[in-house]
């Protein structure tokens, strides 16, 4: 589309809105903001609007409203200037230059634009600083202290074997109020019993819930063993292949300086 007035641009930047475009034109054309050349400004503005290839209707509407405002100001400017004695209205107040409101708006917006640039710099400076993620209050920050010889796979295999041997449903009692058993609760129970058993450890069969139990209890027991093992809070041993699995509490981590198991977690005050 041929432009009535070619804007003096190399490329067409995206404008945030009509004020952004107007400020751009004022700066680009080195116009005196207090004596805006309305004819030029209006022409250039309209030229830009016509050049918008894919007008976003919600934004375009605002550009069109501004276009109407500009045209109105321009037409008022073209009217012959009133005689000097008529530049005051009945109340004695001076009649405003038709451009005044627009100029105020442009100045105000321009102020914020320049401050926004300053904040953009601060944003950049700030993004060069890095912080840590918050540390959760949980025993997860225990130091990993590897011990025990059994892999998690052995536990899973045992779980599968046991679950397969159950006659589904026959063991569960569901007529009574269902308990909400959570993994965390089971973990705490297992850890407590392992700690109570001390170095001798406790056999897996002792940890199994007594019948009648529900399938979910078995699953939770094994999940909790896996999780405790992962957190190195317990150790798991097996004397012979397919023999009894024994669970025992993790010994204090054999690391220098001692007591690192409290690292960054304040475990000391919890889960004794």
């Amino acid at each position: 589309m041929p432009l009535a007035v070619a804007p003096p641009l190399v490329h067409l930047p995206a404008f945030e809105g009509p004020l952004d475009l107007l400020l751009h034109l004022v700066r680009q054309g080195r116009m005196d903001i207090f004596d805006l050349p309305m004819v030029t400004l209006c022409d250039q503005y309209l030229g830009h609007i016509r050049a918008m290839e894919h007008p976003d209707l919600s934004v375009a509407g605002e550009f069109f409203v501004m276009a109407a405002t500009l045209l109105e100001i321009k037409s008022r400017m073209l009217l012959p200037a009133p005689p000097r004695e008529e530049t005051e209205d009945e109340d004695g107040a001076e009649i405003e230059d038709p451009r005044a409101a627009l100029v105020r708006q442009l100045l105000e917006y321009g102020r914020f634009q320049s401050i926004a640039d300053a904040l953009r710099d601060r944003e950049g400076e700030r993004q060069r600083l890095f912080f840590r993620e918050p540390t959760g209050y949980s025993p997860e920050y225990a130091l990993p202290a590897k011990f025990g010889e059994l892999s998690a796979d052995a536990l899973l295999k045992t779980l599968e074997r046991m679950l397969a041997s159950f006659d589904d449903g026959s063991h569960s009692v569901t007529s009574v109020r269902r308990q909400k058993v959570t993994l965390k609760m089971t973990m705490r129970l297992v850890l407590g019993r392992a700690n109570a058993a001390g170095e001798a450890g406790i056999s897996l069969s002792e940890l199994l819930p007594e019948p009648p139990f529900e399938r979910i209890e078995i699953i939770l027991l094994f999940l909790s063993l896996l999780e405790l093992l992962k957190q190195d809070l317990i150790g798991v041993f097996q004397d012979v292949f397919c023999g009894e699995i024994r669970i025992m509490p993790a010994p204090p981590a054999p690391v220098p300086h001692g007591g690192e198991s409290e690292l960054a977690s304040a475990r000391g005050t919890s889960n004794a």
């Binding site: 890095f130 912080f131 840590r132 993620e133 540390t135 959760g136 209050y137 920050y141 130091l143 990993p144 009692v173 007529s175 009574v176 109020r177 269902r178 308990q179 909400k180 058993v181 965390k184 609760m185 705490r188 129970l189 407590g192 819930p209 007594e210 009648p212 139990f213 690391v255 300086h257 001692g258 007591g259 690192e260 198991s261 409290e262 690292l263 960054a264 977690s265 304040a266 475990r267 000391g268 005050t269 919890s270 889960n271 004794a272």
Partner: protein, 186 residues
């Protein structure tokens, strides 16, 4: 002005997990030997002053962590909802303290209201915990108090629980009666 020591420190700080010599060397663009030296110097520096942090070789890597002696202080900051117990929570934990071990149904029979949420809160705050299962149908959880409970209330052990005053023996009786009435007593 950047230094290898500063780089290593910044890297350990932002990383949530132990960093291997290899990844430290890659990020700093120094060789592993120099990185190791910087790590040792950093470790030394943190060990000399009255600092709250330490450099640890841990899990096959290096990590910046807090010193163990600051765990209680950190606990005060991070403990979930580290404000005072609500009234329902306080009531519930009191019942548990004096009547443990007991089940949720028994607690509810005494309090006369459900206490799902309260038990969850108390469990999360580790003031109570599961201490076993009742050998009745459904094998309900038996709750008891924890060492954290003792800590929270400034007691060395449960024997320090204030005894129920004579004139309030009725409280104990009421609890028992409530349990019996609800048919969950044991």
């Amino acid at each position: 002005m950047r230094s290898l020591l500063g780089m290593v420190e910044a890297l350990l700080f932002v990383s949530g997990e132990p960093l291997s010599l290899k990844s430290l060397a890659r990020a700093t663009e120094w060789d592993e030997e120099a990185v190791l030296e910087a790590l040792k110097e950093l470790q030394e520096r943190y060990s000399q002053s009255d600092t709250g942090l330490q450099v640890l070789e841990i899990g096959g890597g290096w990590q910046l962590g807090t010193r163990p002696e600051y765990a209680p202080t950190i606990g005060k900051l991070l403990a979930p909802h580290a404000n005072r117990l609500t009234r329902p929570a306080l009531e519930t934990v009191t019942i548990i303290a004096y009547r443990q071990p007991l089940t949720q149904a028994e607690i509810e029979a005494i309090r006369g209201v459900g206490c799902d949420g309260v038990l969850k809160t108390l469990t999360e705050r580790e003031l109570i915990g599961e201490v076993g299962r009742k050998q009745t149908p459904g094998r309900p959880i038996l709750y008891g108090t924890t060492t954290q409970f003792l800590h929270y209330f400034g007691m060395a052990n449960l024997e320090e629980l204030p005894p129920l005053p004579d004139e309030e023996e009725s409280v104990e009786e009421e609890m028992t009666m409530a349990l019996n009435a609800a048919g969950v007593g044991g």
